[in-house]
């Protein structure tokens, strides 16, 4: 068990190093001088020199990378070309908004996907199963931002129940937060729900065909007990990992929804950084999200090992 965790940890560190390299090289891909591009018409020599020095751009490439990683390790991701604020502070400020949106979306998705996925597997071939498959095919194919626009059209326009966009912090006004989060989280959650429904269905179906489920049925257990004790315990182990990974990818993947709903999260920050050519902020946001993504994957694998008694001994 410990060895398994250590090996995964080591792998993650190697991949994370690669991630920092990619993020670092992003800046090198900018055609021309990134600082000059970023400053654009606001160019003045003093700011330019200061930014170049602060970003380490006047040093050789290898030294630049070493210092980038070194600083990143201490939590220093550079400063914004625009505001001069530390990138880490800027990203962390935006994190709560994104987290609250992503977590709400995943919870909404689970609310739908769990019963739908399990029931459609247990009653495979039924009308419910067909409906579930149509639903998941719909959700996997629909762009979430289009669902967002349709949500605005219906719930903000026609019905007038919910605000079309905007953000209120959960800590300030929970009710206001809830009314604002429902549309974006619903749009994202619909897509997530369809992915999870599909996965839960196939995972439960797979376990249902296992010999030990027949053994449990042979014992004359009630079908509810067979499903809960024998099927779900096994089927949900992989599902846990997929849920966690979906959550992780939402944290970095709700850019479009955040832009559509004026939701001031990490995605919106990324978009603004792109628009403003504020490369350090872009790099910082991408690196932060990728690191979070890796960490979540690592935690998921460790969790997986804890949930499945077979893995621990390998």
């Amino acid at each position: 068990m410990t060895r398994f965790v250590l090996r995964r940890l080591l792998q993650s560190v190697v991949v994370l190093l690669g991630v920092t390299l990619v993020v670092f090289l992003l800046l090198q891909l900018v055609p021309g001088d990134p600082v000059r591009v970023a400053l654009g018409t606001r160019f003045d020599q003093q700011t330019y020199d200061a930014l170049r020095e602060r970003s380490g751009l006047d040093q050789p490439l290898v030294a630049q990378y070493a210092s980038y990683v070194g600083h990143a390790l201490t939590g220093d991701l550079g400063v914004s070309f625009r505001s001069g604020q530390p990138v880490t502070t800027i990203v962390l400020e935006r994190l709560p908004a994104t987290l609250s949106l992503a977590v709400t979306a995943v919870l909404l998705a689970l609310l739908v996907a769990f019963p739908l996925g399990v029931l459609s597997a247990v009653r495979s071939g039924s009308a419910l199963d067909h409906a579930a498959r149509v639903f998941s095919q719909f959700g996997v194919s629909v762009p979430d931002f289009w669902m967002g626009i349709m949500g605005i059209l219906l719930f903000a326009g026609v019905l007038g129940w919910l605000p079309p966009s905007g953000y209120v912090a959960l800590t300030e006004d929970p009710a206001g937060w809830a009314s604002h989060v429902l549309l974006p989280a619903g749009a994202v959650g619909l897509v997530t729900a369809s992915i999870l429904t599909r996965f839960i269905r196939s995972s439960v179906l797979e376990v249902l065909s296992e010999d030990y489920v027949r053994t449990a049925e042979a014992k004359g257990l009630r079908s509810r007990i067979v499903v809960v004790r024998h099927v779900l315990r096994n089927a949900l182990i992989p599902v846990v990992t997929v849920v966690a990974v979906q959550l992780a990818s939402l944290i970095g993947g709700v850019i479009v929804i955040e832009v559509l709903f004026a939701w001031p999260g990490v995605g919106r920050l990324t978009y603004d950084a792109v628009q403003a050519r504020d490369y350090p902020v872009l790099q910082g946001a991408v690196l932060f999200v990728a690191a979070l993504f890796l960490l979540m994957n690592l935690l998921v694998d460790v969790l997986y090992a804890r949930l499945d008694p077979r893995i621990g001994v390998r």
Binding site: V22, L27, P143, I149, I152, R198, L205
Partner: protein, 293 residues
Amino acid sequence: MSGHPDGTLRRALSALRHDPPAVAGTAVLLLLLVVGVAGRWLAPDGVNDVDVDGILRPPSLDHLFGTDELGRDVLSRVLVAARVSLEVGLVSVGIALLVGVTVGLLAGWYRGWVDNVLMRGMDVLFAFPVLLLAVAIVAVLGPGLLTAMVAIGVVYTPIFARVTRAGVLSVREQVFVRAAVSIGASDARIIRRHVLPNIAAPLIVQTSLSLAFAILSEAALSFLGLGIQPPDPAWGRMLYDGRGFVTEAWWLGVFPGAAIFLTVLAFNLVGDALRDVLDPRQLTVGEARRSRR
């Protein structure tokens, strides 16, 4: 002894005929192809023709999909934009396929350090959420059609590399490949004659499904203004431009989005049907992790 790619494809196509969703998907794709090629001539108006008196007109006989905030015909713009989506989808998946299969072949065939270096590189690309990485790449290269294609291609490369590598690893241990090696056939020949035909099935499935995701990614990029630049129309961009008017002019939100949805759905239906025929595995954790975002 080894499956021939023609055989694989023929088997797939004949099976698709008996699957109603796949037939529907194929029909939509054929229609799209026609629209993609001939959209400019099918469109009733020019994409940038402005009807000054007719700003935000609801659908009518003059403008079946209504007009937008500048008085342009929405139907014409939706038809012409089909080409952009298909082009970006095909080219970017083409890039991903080419690079991914090459990487996967090298890694799976030569193993050892080649495998290690290449696949760790793929792991790194895999560590980013899809859209975030695409946005970052386009942001530094500068927005536009070509960079969008490259960015989406890069993002979908690792999945092809993994599928290929897994296929190569299982094929290379089989008797007919070991026999070919033992009689001294060249690597290139063995790969072409024995390995590629045997990994064709999963690659065909992955290609079809990736086209769906690539078109979604293109729509997202162009929604963010990072795809093809105005005044050329793109479905995602049309949604972005129309988002502020949508409560008064529903047609600005409905039609371009429906176009994206139908295109992606068609690729998914065909891809799922192909998977059932060619590669009937259960959905794996890895796929579900990667299936969308």
